[in-house]
């Protein structure tokens, strides 16, 4: 294996690890967003439960 091949392999390895880390961190980001969205829904439901219920159970069904 030439030096160039070794360098190429190392850089592929790095790209791989970076990709894995990016994907994993985006998964964590998804998780935090899921908690934020649910928190907002809980807040809105606490402020006006009837309006939220009517919107999601009745208004969105147009037929």
């Amino acid at each position: 294996m030439t030096e160039q091949d070794i360098k190429k392999n190392e850089s592929t390895e790095k790209v791989l690890q970076d990709t894995s880390k990016r994907v994993l961190s985006s998964e964590k980001r998804e998780d935090i967003w899921a908690i934020i969205i649910s928190g907002v829904i809980l807040l809105l439901c606490s402020i006006n439960p009837d309006a939220i219920y009517t919107f999601f159970k009745k208004t969105l069904f147009i037929f």
């Binding site: 899921a34 649910s38 219920y53």
Partner: protein, 423 residues
């Protein structure tokens, strides 16, 4: 400020078209589902009203228990309302609606998944929509968190405890078998490791979590993810019908699906398709299952004897567990805790005009968006990428786990797997 910036992708604009497409698709399908459900209820009402009336007359003449007669009268009232909604009268029939909605289980889950696959693989989806379709899928997560209002701690202890034991046995059993077979058939450690973790625990998340540990190549990841998703897709369509054929109860089906289907989104779709009780059990066992991801990572490290490299990368056991823990599940357990406390200002999912009652109306829309994302992202060409010995080992192990899982849930019975939901 940097924290807020890190929470938003730099190129967030590119996700909007696909997300809007999923919203539109989910909206149309939910409305079709709603109309079908109304016709099916009217058909059932039209059929049942004369029978219930006859039964009430019989019981009244025999001087039976007034409570039993009152319950029948309430049922009659509900049937009359269902029939009146469609402007029908007794004798009118909408058998096509019963056939589609009840017999063929053609509900919003099936419509979004099958419709999405048909659209993606016939008309096709323009490139501009693809990134947004990809992020619609994780929108199932807020739906799962909100579903926490359906549970109380005794459910978590009972069903979650049984589920945790079941999943622990199945996860580590499957992972060990797949890793051993992959080693025996000379499958590279990278592919064998992630395939073992993927088929054992929670599909894609486990593959992503273990890939840096076993230094898996992108192609290995594509193979393993392809295998998990392909198997999950097949099971998603087959299991609900198989469950009906085998007369498996809703709670048993939920537990069985949680053992057999490895991807959270596909699992929720299959269980929701089967029924509400099936979904309640599946969500709880899935929560127990995905909490085991950090441990499967440690297990992979042990199996491939990579202790030193991981100690170097993650600085020990605690950091590995912390970095792989699925954070969103904490939100689910917070809502379970709040529901268990029975706080008057939060109410419950069945207590009208309370916050938890309103939240109960929201989660299905998140599921619908997520299912739209799944359906539209299933490309038959991509699925063909999964192949080779690893695919056979992975699918074989997943299929074996499915059969053994069915035997286990039948032996356990419905009672231990049933979610009560409390107040």
């Amino acid at each position: 400020m940097s924290l807020i910036r890190s929470m938003v992708a730099d190129d967030w604009q590119k996700y909007i078209p696909g997300l809007l497409l999923c919203m539109l698709f989910a909206f149309v399908v939910m409305n079709i589902h709603h109309v079908l459900a109304k016709y099916q209820k009217a058909d059932e009402a039209s059929f049942e009203i004369p029978r219930v009336e006859e039964k009430i007359a019989e019981l009244s003449a025999a001087g039976s228990d007034p409570a039993e007669i009152a319950a029948l009268q309430a049922r009659l009232e509900k049937y009359r309302k269902d029939l009146a909604k469609m402007g029908g009268k007794v004798g009118d029939r909408w058998e096509w609606a019963t056939l589609l909605y009840q017999d063929l289980q053609f509900k919003y889950v099936a419509m979004l998944l099958i419709g999405g696959i048909i659209i993606r693989n016939t008309i096709g989806v323009a490139k501009i929509f693809l990134p947004g379709i990809g992020i619609a899928r994780p929108l199932i997560k807020p739906g799962i968190i909100i579903l926490g209002v359906h549970y109380i701690w005794s459910d978590v202890a009972k069903v979650g405890g049984a589920g945790l034991l079941l999943t622990a046995v199945f996860i580590f059993g499957t992972a060990l078998s797949v890793m051993y077979l992959c080693k025996k058939f000379n499958v590279p450690d990278g592919l064998g490791g992630i395939m073992g973790a993927g088929t054992g625990v929670c599909g894609v998340s486990a593959i992503i979590a273990t890939s840096p540990v076993v230094k898996a190549k992108p192609r290995d990841m594509a193979y393993a993810i392809g295998t998990i998703l392909l198997f999950g897709t097949l099971m998603l369509f087959v299991m609900p019908y198989l469950g009906q054929m085998l007369d498996v109860s809703q709670s048993q089906f939920g537990a069985w699906a949680a053992l057999a289907i490895l991807n959270t989104a596909q699992l929720i779709a299959a269980a929701e398709w089967y029924g509400e009780d099936a979904r309640n059990t599946a969500v709880l066992i899935n929560a127990a299952r995905i909490m085991l991801i950090p441990f499967i990572v440690m297990y992979t490290v042990w199996f491939y004897d990579l202790k030193e490299s991981v100690a170097h990368e993650h600085h020990g056991l605690w950091n590995t567990i912390k970095s792989k823990f699925p954070v969103f599940i904490l939100g689910f357990f917070i809502l379970v805790l709040l529901n268990s406390l029975n706080l008057p200002f939060l109410g419950g999912p069945k207590e009208a005009h309370t916050p938890f009652w309103a939240m109960n109306a929201v989660y299905k829309w998140f599921f619908a968006l997520g299912f739209a994302g799944i359906g539209l992202s299933i490309s038959i060409d991509d699925m063909k990428k999964a192949g080779g010995v690893a695919f056979l080992v992975g699918s074989g192990a997943a299929a074996t786990k499915m059969v053994l899982g069915l035997i286990a849930v039948i032996l356990i019975g419905t009672e231990l797997l049933m979610v009560t939901g409390g107040h």
